[in-house]
């Protein structure tokens, strides 16, 4: 857990440094995504899971991934992210990454896991492995799209890796509020991913130093 935090912090640090290097003047987008009402009252610190409903995979409690689509320079160094298996669940349930990111799949359970995906964006099969497997099994996701993760051993385990062609993305909080910082000025398409079938979008024009308010919908 500690490791995860450190790595996440490092990633954010790197991104912030990158943004600072590109230009001092940066735009901010913030707003709120109208999330579907949860079926029952949200529980504090509730673990997110992927549920399927009428053929639609969505995180539960509802959550949105907001990202800025546009032409961005390629990443200087390949990014690394982690999808942890713990207590026979994936953590996080939804992991947005930029194309080209290596995602590690550490097994923190005492049992075997066999992570695989048949999704068109990335087909892979890590095979059966335990927590002491070194190096940590990992895959590079170099095609944008939604990847459904499954465990061959534990049929209920499900997670989504959202491979995005942009470095600018953020997860909303449970209430749907988001804030994207360090954005370059210009015209873009702002998108909000809600579930496997639903991605909202709206064009935005960002100005340096300005904070844009953009709500969905």
């Amino acid at each position: 857990m500690k490791l995860l935090r450190i790595r996440t912090a490092m990633t954010w640090l790197a991104l912030t440094a990158l943004a600072a290097a590109v230009g001092r003047s940066q735009a901010v987008v913030e707003g709120r995504v109208a999330l579907p009402k949860p079926a029952h009252a949200p529980v504090l610190n509730q673990r997110y899971t992927i549920v399927s409903h009428a053929g639609v995979l969505s995180p539960y409690p509802p959550l949105a991934v907001v990202y800025l689509e546009g032409a961005f320079p390629p990443a200087a160094a390949p990014a690394v992210a982690q999808m942890v298996q713990k207590d026979l669940n994936f953590l996080p349930a939804v992991l947005p990454v930029r194309v080209g990111t290596r995602v590690e799949f550490p097994n923190l359970d005492d049992t075997y896991h066999n992570i695989f995906s048949y999704s068109a964006a990335k087909r892979f099969d890590l095979g059966r492995y335990r927590g002491d497997e070194r190096p940590i099994p990992s895959e590079v996701f170099d095609t944008a799209g939604m990847v459904t993760l499954r465990c061959d051993i534990h049929e209920h385990m499900r997670a989504i890796i959202l491979v995005l062609a942009t470095p600018h993305f953020v997860l909303s909080d449970p209430a749907g509020a988001y804030r994207l910082e360090g954005l370059p000025a210009g015209r873009y398409l702002l998108k909000a991913w809600l579930d496997s079938r639903t991605t909202l979008e709206r064009p935005v024009e960002l100005a340096d130093g300005a904070t844009l308010r953009a709500d969905f919908p």
Partner: protein, 591 residues
């Protein structure tokens, strides 16, 4: 009595024959009935036992099949839940469907080539598998070798018009490659989307049906009837073809289950059929269990022969026993027959003798009667003549004395004739006693008086001891005659100046008159003969008499229910006794 060497009469022989026949019939019928009953009973119980055995075997077979089926179904269900298959179907990777399933099916479908992992039992190893799409149609397998080989026509039969939401069982008759039919059990398991909850596909697994043989010596063979074709490899070809023909209409008529007996080469068979997949979307298949009754029928035949043997033995024994028994039973009857034969001869002889005697007796009686009558008349005439002479004056006193003596002799003659007449009537049984109540005492007193008053040369002293009354029953005339005769004898066989003692008394129910007299003794050897007719004692040679007095007295006394007997006879004293039935004094006369 018994005629030992004489052959039994014809009736006896025929009786023995009939008895023997009847006993043999009874024994035979009983033995046959018993044997038939026992045989039928045993046959029925053998049948029942066989049936029970068959049902038990069948139940065992079914239990094994159920376990197998449940195991296969459970594994199929587990398979249908597998993530890879769901991933292939739901995450849009149809190309990965069969390959991923092949991996999953590895243990179900059989060991991998080369190195068998864990050898599943042959019946638990799938021969092939196919996926059906949401419309129930087979999703073609990209690589037939992975999914198990199946001819296109056979593959097409896995398809269903509608994808069922529940597991289905079916059977597929296919060519095993060598031209022989083989039956596979199909287990269809629907695959339900974890996303939508809908049935999105199905997996069909084909397992070979192992030929079932239960019951040790292959008595029970199990197979499958599908689309009118019987798959029963353990049964020989000839009865199988016949059975297939036989089964079709029966299945059509009976529905989902039934049983019947079936005769074909190799012995009669007991056949049981039952639908294996009732309610299935696949064509109806029937389980067919066949049990050969040949062994049982053979056993029954053997049993029947044994019964026949035992029956013959029992019959023979029974006949022997009945023969012996009949002979023994007939023995007393034969003896009786022989005895009765001898008896009859005796009887005939006695009857003849009796006849002769009776005839002679009658003749003699008639003679006596005739003679008496014939004699009476001349005696009367004689007496009348003599009395006429006496009455006349022609005779001198001397002659008169002579004639008087002659008249007296006529009286004696008449008396003898009278006695003879009486005797003859007695002998002829024509004498009827008119019984009446009678006091003998005065009669006796009168007779004793007469005795003492008789004017003769004896000059007897008469002693009497008489009661005032002596009631008896009888006829006065005859009893008087009896007493007269006895007193006459006491007088006749006396000597001059002798004594006569007459005593009368009652003794119990008897009235007894004792008459004793002096005189020569009656010899002991003559004791009983003195009562015979015309017998006269040696002593009486010079005594007048005819030898009928005592005889007449006894006969008459006996007719009255009494008797006359000689009490004793010693030197110079002889005692006679008359016993008569006493009539109670003072009572009215007996009838």
């Amino acid at each position: 009595m018994k005629a030992p060497a004489a052959p039994p009469p014809r009736e006896v022989a025929s009786f023995r024959r009939r008895l023997l026949l009847a006993m043999m019939l009874v024994v035979g019928a009983a033995a046959v009935a018993l044997l038939l009953f026992t045989q039928r009973n045993m046959a029925a119980s053998a049948r029942l036992e066989l049936e029970r055995e068959f049902q038990t075997s069948l139940a065992a077979l079914h239990a094994a099949q159920q376990v197998r089926h449940a195991s296969l179904a459970e594994r199929s269900r587990a398979l249908a839940r597998r993530s890879r298959i769901h991933a292939a179907l739901e995450d849009g990777a149809p190309d990965l469907l069969y390959p991923s399933a092949r991996d999953e099916l590895a243990d179900l479908a059989g060991p991998e080539e080369g190195a068998p992992r864990e050898a599943a039992p042959p019946g638990l190893r799938a021969r092939y598998y196919r996926f059906l799409d949401a419309k129930g149609q087979v999703i073609p397998a990209p690589n037939r070798r992975d999914a198990g080989d199946l001819a296109p026509a056979e593959e097409a039969r896995l398809s269903l018009s509608v994808l069922p939401g529940r597991p289905q069982t079916g059977y597929l008759l296919r060519d095993d490659g060598a031209g022989d039919p083989a039956v596979d059990e199909l287990i269809l398991t629907p695959i339900v989307s974890t996303e939508t909850g809908e049935t999105i596909a199905a997996i069909v697994l084909g397992f070979p049906v192992p030929p079932a043989r239960v019951g040790g010596d292959a008595a029970l063979a199990g197979g499958v009837m599908l689309d009118g074709v019987l798959y029963l490899p353990t049964l020989a070809a000839v009865p199988r073809a016949d059975l297939q023909r036989e089964l079709k209409p029966r299945i059509a008529a009976a529905g989902d289950r039934g049983r019947f007996e079936f005769d074909a080469p190799g012995g009669p068979y007991l056949v049981f059929f039952q639908q294996l997949n009732p309610g299935s979307a696949y064509p109806a298949a029937f389980e067919v269990a066949v049990d050969s009754l040949a062994a049982s029928v053979g056993r029954q035949h053997r049993l029947a022969w044994e019964f026949c043997g035992v029956g013959i033995l029992v019959l023979a024994g029974g006949f022997l026993a009945s023969q012996t028994l009949a002979r023994r039973l007939a023995v007393p009857v034969e003896r009786l027959a022989v005895d009765s034969e001898a008896n009859r001869a005796h009887w005939h002889r006695a009857e003849a003798a009796l006849e002769t005697t009776s005839r002679e007796l009658q003749r003699s009686a008639r003679f006596s009667a005739d003679a008496s009558h014939q004699l009476k008349t001349p005696v009367t005439v004689l007496r009348a003549g003599l009395e006429g002479l006496l009455a006349g004056q022609e005779l001198g006193p001397e002659a008169r004395e002579e004639v008087a003596g002659l008249v007296h002799q006529t009286f004696r003659l008449a008396s003898v004739i009278e006695d003879l007449l009486l005797l003859s009537r007695l002998d002829a049984g024509r004498l009827q006693i008119q019984f009446s109540r009678l006091d003998l005492a005065p009669v006796l007193a009168a007779l004793v008086d007469d005795l003492g008053a008789l004017p003769d040369h004896f000059d007897l002293e008469v002693l009497t001891d008489l009661p005032p009354t002596l009631w008896v029953t009888g006829e006065r005339g005859y009893l008087t005659l009896v007493l007269e005769n006895l007193l006459e004898n006491a007088r006749k066989y006396n000597h001059p100046h002798g004594r006569v003692a007459v005593a009368a008394f009652e003794e119990g129910e008897w009235a007894v008159v004792g008459i004793g007299n002096t005189g020569p003794a009656i010899p002991a050897e003559a004791g009983e003969h003195i009562f015979e007719r015309f017998h006269r004692g040696a002593v009486g040679e010079n005594v007048p008499g005819h030898g009928i007095g005592l005889n007449l007295a006894r006969e008459l006394a006996r007719l009255h229910g009494g008797d006359v007997r000689l009490v004793r006879s010693g030197p110079d004293w002889t005692d006679f006794e008359l016993r008569l039935r006493r009539a109670p004094a003072g009572e009215p006369p007996a009838p």
